[in-house]
């Protein structure tokens, strides 16, 4: 029974014999003669060797076998393909030894031989790995050895690539690198190359590592090929970039650079490795863009030229190039900003020159006797008004132009947009009269510009206006002007459409905020209420019953004081007119005046009405005996309230009675300046010379005498007497000074209010921080002057709103409740 289990021992193996079997088979595999080999047998032999703890010997034997095979058979086959010119490529001398066509053909046979050896090696090692799978599983895993496949790949690297072609010459991989680089250069020069062959060799370099540990970033491709490729590419593109800058214009340069970048990406895809795409792009971008973009932009045919000649496509290319290397597009933005600044400064200078230019033309025209009735100063103001409108239009044209460039060429890029906006803001704010001019521009459009325009066009105009307003830093000044101009438009009924006016206001509301438009809206409200009031008064008078046909008709605008910039109607030099309320009205006028006052006080008790006689106008029917070719005629005269008073004065006198200036003033109490101006209109202007002045001269002087002009003659029935400056014009220097002063005052209040608001909330605050917060709070209205803030703080301290904190580390203030 005991013997029944007996038998020979399990697989006894003789290593040498078994190895011989394997070695023979491996040779067959390497000579592509494997189809008769039995996998089972080879595996079984290797398996037994490993079971008998001979794994290490087997591993070493296989490695040795492969090393011998590679260094003997394979290397010779590859090296045979190397011709002398190819070998000398590594030190650069090979290029001159053969034509590129010869080098290409020779290089390709070498690349092909290497590629085939590599592929053979992989196939064979695949088979060996199959046979030796138990060794890999047991021996390599337990002893932390690289798999036999990895080991054999390393042997290929050491025996083929990293061994010198012949003694004292460079390693084969260096030759390989230089051949591939040579071929790439041919490709860059426009020759056709076999990119597939190169790609196969790149695959090989990507599949091999510097050590048998196969660390990912130690690929031969990354260590021994790519750096040289990038280096030579950098050299090539540096030279090409310099050549292109010298030889071609900026547009061509851009196109070429773009083409090269795309070409290099394509090359990575078709010939090299995708992993290099980003790196080579970076190299090309460095050499062709980053180091050259400044020179490129500043070329004669650079950005300035492109803008001047509307080369939008080329500008787009420049943008695209710089966008590749700089998300902020610094150089292009700088250049564009410079151009905008130059063009903007030009526009500003033209406007300044026009406004400062002496009114040469009017002087000349005066001599020709043309338009004599217009004083030279009015002429100049008109000229300036035109300049103001032109300035706004020029600015808008500039903006439109660069907006178009931005949209078309700069891909509506946000960073560039910000820069453009900043530049536009700078040039608009660099022009001290910007606020006034923009308001004038709107005024002009409201009065004339929007006539005959479609709704869409009006909309566009309003949008343009708002666009410029948006840039203004000192919005408070703009508000002042806008109020002034709006005031005149409303009171003198110059506006084309109240609807459009209101649209503008609502746009401003959106753009500048509620507080900005509050007073403007109040003005509209006053106008509406006044209309109701007037018609209410008319009804009231009609109800009184005694329909007096001679009764003077009255139309009133009741304006809330403070809301309306009434000084707009005043000559800048005039003092507050104390005498205003003492104007002496003729009885007919006095009657309706007091009538209305009664009517009004019934409706709104406790309100005080102040009559702005300087702002009113009147329609007067006047009878002249010889007006119509010597026959009598009645004219409808529209004139200022003062002119009406003067005319009524003469009406109450016998026709031949004359009055001196002083006498007229005594009987009417009209302020001297207004009186003079009105008399000028009535006695000097030829078309409205209802009075005769003595002596006859342009100026009104003390002691001048006036009489009713019996011989007045005019073909026109309706005559308008222009006195009150009818339109909104550019301010004179005096006016501007006053506006500035007023503006500074209101800024002072705004600053004080802001400081108090901040301090009330914070109780105590360091000086610097208070300044910053104040500036931030006020930035929507204007850019406050630091000195002014300091002065206002001083003033607040004096008035005991604030107090300095004595022992604070930094200067600080405390709020006094």
């Amino acid at each position: 029974m005991a013997n029944k289990f007996k038998g020979l021992n399990g697989a006894d193996v003789d290593f040498e014999t078994t190895w011989k079997v394997l070695e023979t088979a491996f040779k067959e595999i390497h000579t592509k003669n494997a189809s008769a080999l039995s996998f089972e047998e080879l595996y079984r032999n290797a398996y037994k060797i490993v079971l008998k703890k001979k794994g290490e010997e087997l591993y070493n034997n296989v490695a040795q076998f492969e090393a011998n095979w590679l260094s003997g058979e394979v290397r010779n086959r590859v090296v045979k393909q190397l011709t002398a010119p190819l070998l000398l490529l590594t030190d650069g001398t090979g290029r001159s030894l053969a034509t590129s066509a010869e080098r290409r053909v020779a290089g390709e046979s070498f690349l092909r031989a290497l590629k085939e050896s590599w592929e053979d090696h992989q196939v064979c090692m695949g088979m060996l790995t199959d046979v030796l799978m138990y060794m890999d599983r047991v021996y390599c895993t337990d002893h932390r050895q690289p798999s036999i496949f990895a080991k054999a790949m390393g042997l290929f690297r050491d025996q083929i690539l990293r061994s010198p072609v012949r003694p004292e010459s460079p390693d084969l991989i260096e030759v390989l690198t230089s051949i591939v680089l040579d071929q790439i250069q041919m490709h860059r020069d426009g020759e056709r190359i076999n990119s597939h062959l190169i790609k196969s060799n790149v695959y090989m370099l990507e599949g091999l590592y510097e050590s048998d540990q196969e660390v990912e970033d130690e690929k031969l491709y990354l260590r021994l090929f790519e750096p040289y490729f990038l280096q030579t590419s950098a050299m090539f593109y540096r030279e090409e970039g310099e050549r292109l800058l010298k030889e071609s214009d900026a547009g061509t340069y851009c196109k070429e650079a773009k083409r090269r970048i795309e070409e290099e990406s394509d090359r990575c895809r078709s010939t090299l490795s995708e992993a290099t795409t980003v790196k080579i792009q970076r190299v090309v971008e460095d050499e062709l863009i980053r180091h050259k973009i400044k020179g490129l932009i500043e070329m004669d045919s650079g950005v300035q030229y492109m803008v001047d000649n509307d080369k939008l496509y080329e500008l787009g290319l420049v943008f695209e190039l710089e966008a590749r290397v700089d998300a902020r597009k610094t150089e292009l933005t700088k250049a564009i900003q410079k151009i905008i600044n130059e063009m903007g400064t030009e526009i500003n200078n033209v406007a300044i020159n026009t406004s400062q230019a002496p009114p040469t033309a009017p002087a000349a025209q005066d001599e020709h006797g043309d338009d004599k009735q217009k004083p030279g100063s009015t002429r100049q103001i008109n000229q300036q008004t035109v300049a103001a409108l032109k300035w706004v239009e020029d600015v808008l044209a500039l903006k439109t132009r660069f907006d178009n460039i931005w949209k078309t060429a700069f891909a509506s890029d946000q960073t560039v947009h910000t820069a453009l906006e900043r530049s536009m803001g700078e040039i608009i704010n660099a022009f001290s009269r910007g606020s006034e001019y923009i308001s004038l521009f709107i005024d002009e459009n409201m009065k004339k510009g929007i006539r005959d325009k479609t709704e869409a066009e009006i909309d566009a105009t309003l949008e343009q206006a708002i666009t410029t307003v948006r840039y203004l830093q000192d919005k408070d000044i703009f508000e002042t002007y806008y109020k002034k101009h709006l005031c005149k438009r409303l009171l003198l009924k110059k506006s084309q459409s109240i609807d459009v006016e209101k649209q503008m206001i609502s746009r401003m509301k959106i753009e500048l905020g509620n507080s900005f438009t509050l007073k403007l809206e109040a003005m509209f409200k006053d106008m509406t209420l006044s209309e109701e009031l007037t018609s209410g008064y008319r009804k009231h008078v009609a109800q009184l019953g005694d329909a007096d046909p001679k009764r003077v008709d009255l139309s009133v605008n009741v304006l809330t004081s403070m809301t309306w910039p009434l000084e707009a109607f005043r000559g800048a030099s005039e003092d507050e007119r104390e005498g205003r309320s003492n104007i002496i009205f003729p009885a007919s006028i006095e009657r309706i005046k007091s009538g209305f006052e009664q009517f009004y006080s019934k409706k709104h008790s406790g309100r005080k009405l102040t009559w702005q006689t300087n702002m009113g106008d009147a329609d007067v029917k006047a009878h002249f005996p010889r007006s119509k070719n010597g026959r009598p005629m009645t004219h409808d005269i529209n004139c200022s309230t003062y002119a009406m008073l003067i005319l009524l004065l003469f009406n109450s006198l016998p026709t031949t009675t004359s009055l001196t200036l002083e006498e007229i003033q005594a009987r009417t109490n009209i302020p001297e300046n207004d009186l003079k101006r009105n008399l000028q209109s009535l006695a000097v202007a030829p078309k409205t010379r209802f009075l005769v002045k003595e002596p006859m001269s342009r100026e009104i002087n003390a002691g001048d005498r006036f009489t009713y002009n019996e011989g007045f003659s005019s073909k026109i029935i309706k005559i308008k007497v222009g006195v009150v400056s009818a339109g909104n014009k550019v301010e004179g220097d005096r006016e501007r000074k006053e506006t500035e002063k007023k503006n500074n005052d209101s800024r002072g209040f705004a600053i004080e209010a802001a400081v108090v608001r901040i301090m009330k909330q914070r109780k105590s605050l360091p000086h610097a921080q208070l300044l910053t917060e104040t500036i931030t709070q006020l930035s929507t209205q204007f850019k406050p002057d630091v000195n002014m803030i300091k002065k206002k703080i001083e003033s607040l301290i004096e008035r005991e709103y604030l107090e300095r904190i004595e022992d604070a580390a930094v200067p600080s203030y405390k709020y006094l409740a």
């Binding site: 029974m1 289990f5 038998g7 039995s38 996998f39 089972e40 595996y43 199959d130 047991v138």
Partner: protein, 284 residues
Amino acid sequence: MASSKAVQSFRNAAKDYLFNDRFSDFTIVCEDQEFKVHRCFICAQSKWFERCCSGIFEEGKTNRVHLREEHASVIANMISFMYTFDYNDSTSSDTFKSTSTEHTLPKGSSSSKHLTSPAPSNALQMNAWVYATAEKYEILDLKALALEKFKQHADVTNADDMLGAAWAVYKHISLLETDRQLHDTVRDMWLLGGKELIANIGPEALEDCFASIPKLMGELLTMLIGAFGGGAKTVRQFCKTCNYYELFTTSDVVSKEFVCSKCPSKEARESVRLTGQVAVKKFW
């Protein structure tokens, strides 16, 4: 995941293809048996067969592999596992032969009848062989299953089982030295069998076994001797004349001369009683 019901259906369906030459695209030859198999089944279970079938070696070209130095019954079980995730480890009933489609090669036509080890003759041996085969052809699930079955089948007092297991595992089957799961199990079985096992085997067969398989004997001894602690022991000294004994420590025995307390004799014989514990992994 498929439901367990679906998995069960698939298993049942797969079972139908075992030893069925329908769609068969590969042949495994072993001894005088020819098994018609399906590459998708065998390659799914074994990396070895995958490489065998796909390579450009002879097997890949002819769609036929001759497994030399294997027992047909073991290979049949391996194939059975590949289709059914189980196999029948009984050696008597010849389950695989009852199915119709494997072919018996004409005697002598198989050129390589040079197996050196006897075919498995009981379930324990069969499982040990399947275990080794699973290792060789890299079917790790089968290896685990075989070990499981091997442990289940151990009747530690059965002399045939224990001897058979010892021969198969220690002598006939080749495994890596580090792969000791079968060996440890056999050794522990022997220890567990104890006196009864030795009695059942009989002295002659035991001697033969230990002479032929010194490795097993060595391992058993190592376990046994290792069970006792060394160092100072309590020693009994028996008087050679009156058989009276006294207890001493070993050091006392060395330094003192023996004088019997009952009689004048100065001659003594000594003995030591040892008790120890052997830790045996639970496999049953």
